[in-house]
Amino acid sequence: MRGRVLVSLAVRSLANRRLTAGLTVLSVAVSVALLIGVDRLRAEARASFTSTISGADLIVGARSGPINLLLYSVFRIGDATNNISWTSYGEIAARPEVAWTIPISLGDAHRGFRVLGTDTGYFAHYRFGRERSLEFAEGEVFTRVNDAVLGADVASALGYAVGDRIIVSHGIGDVSFEQHDELPFLVTGILRRTGTPVDRTVHVTLAGIEAIHADDDPRRYAGQTVDATGAVAGALEPEAITACIVGLKSRLMVFGLQRFINGYEREPLMAIVPGVTLQQLWELVGVAETALLGVSAFVIAAGLVGLLTTLLTSLAERRREMAVLRSMGAGPGMVFGLLIAEAVILAGIAAVAGVTAIHAGMFAARPFVLERFGLYLAPGLPGWFDGTVVVVVTFAAGLIAALPAWRAYRFSLADGLSIRT
């Protein structure tokens, strides 16, 4: 009974000061939305990042650093220090424990998008996310030297469709001025969107990469069919590739083959377990995300201090209100409870509003974020983290409101009724 009177009094008193109360709610809500938003984005970024490659047992490249190898082979960030010779690649692919291999040849570009030379095994064996494989939105896999398969972003950004002809330039810059002897590539397929760097890649055959670097006129190779290794035996066999992805018959053999490759005597090679390196890389990046989360926690603290300030300043203009309450028979405990109730109501509304706003906002922004940043935001309902934030913020508000409540409790009667001159 008393509690209900308290709440109804608090609500009415707040309604009377709806502008300042509204602004206080807004500032706390924004800080809560920021914290929840940072947490959601961090989880989504991590999920998207670690979902880039799966099902692969080893990635092999020239000896450099594990993170460097992972970045250029999977994320198309940075460059290789050296290549793997075609004979070494053949020897690794022929090992008894190896089930499949995907060769990767990098170093060229098409209007700012990386060009990757590979074979048809890429479309059969590359996995991302929860064991998902690449699917064609349109067209089919390449079969000839100058065929190309585009990632979803390449096709949508440059407006390409199956049947278009494109020019691959040497080097990875946006524009190259080596215009001679150009070999046009025919778009034979466009992949479905994956949310991984595959979307931003132009895939061609290994022979296609060789052809554009050929000394003679590359156009004479146009239309030749490539074999299963992505090459044209005798004519366009690559001397080297940049890296390769290896799948094993049993994952128990991962360390054995890794050891064999790391100790390979003919040339310095390195093999990494993608899961391990992803984890290492994420542990590195994780420091920044923790910092971001820390900053948002401070913003919440600032929001709560704002709430405290509002309550304290409101006391001055509410001397009369308090005095009237006291003279009507409300005990000092009632005045104390009234202020605590106000703070709790304000903070509770703000926290719920913040959580709702950020979830609704992120839901609405999904297409934009996917298109602009390639980050897929899984639609999700508020979870236990959001619940915890609401409870903690509300509780903290009740706690800090003890200060203004105590002041009101102490001074209400004497202050409001005595006439100051």
């Binding site: 996310g129 991962v254 360390f255 377990v273 994420w282």
Partner: protein
């Protein structure tokens, strides 16, 4: 003694009995899970200290094939619920959580040092992907042990596990 008093006494007694039953049941469940050490994975004739990792001699990596590698397994372990301490080497990560991994007896098994022999690696898959902290932290992994057949020049089969969960390992 008034009858209502009796009722109020009976209730806590009932609770006590229930609690005791629950305790016994949980103890039973624990007993069904066998705590294994890495030597238990070796057959009797190979039961010796596993070859100690020869700490990082970068100057001369011995060719892999020149190691003597113990390869036997203990088929009786197939199907048992076990708990093994070790380090998790993530293979597949799904949405930030590990769905497939190798469990090994010493850290750094994936770099520099000779890899553990095939019968000292367990391929653990988690139907419900788990979150791991740092790869440096040892954990207890609980799950049902199985055998994974594969043909290579080294060994015929190794251990697999349907992992159910991990917990922190305390020294």
């Amino acid at each position: 003694m008034p009858p209502d008093k009796e009722v109020s006494l009976a209730r806590p007694v009932l609770w006590l009995i229930l609690a005791a039953c629950a305790l016994v049941a949980s103890a039973d469940k624990d007993a069904a899970i066998r705590e294994l050490e890495w030597e238990d994975l070796l057959p009797d004739d190979e039961e010796q200290e596993p070859p100690a990792p020869s700490w990082v001699d970068h100057s001369a990596i011995t060719p892999f094939d020149s190691f003597h590698i113990p390869t036997g397994i203990v088929p009786e372990l197939n199907g048992q619920m076990v708990k093994i301490p070790g380090f998790i080497v993530p293979l597949d990560i799904v949405e930030g959580k590990v769905s497939s991994s190798l469990l090994v007896p010493y850290f750094g098994a994936c770099i520099h040092v000779p890899p553990p022999p095939p019968n000292q690696i367990v391929h653990v898959t988690f139907a419900k992907p788990i979150e791991i902290g740092s790869m440096w932290d040892p954990v207890w992994v609980t799950g049902r042990l199985g055998l994974e057949r594969y043909a290579s020049e080294l060994a015929e089969a190794g251990y697999s596990m349907e992992g159910e969960g991990i917990e922190e390992y305390r020294y």
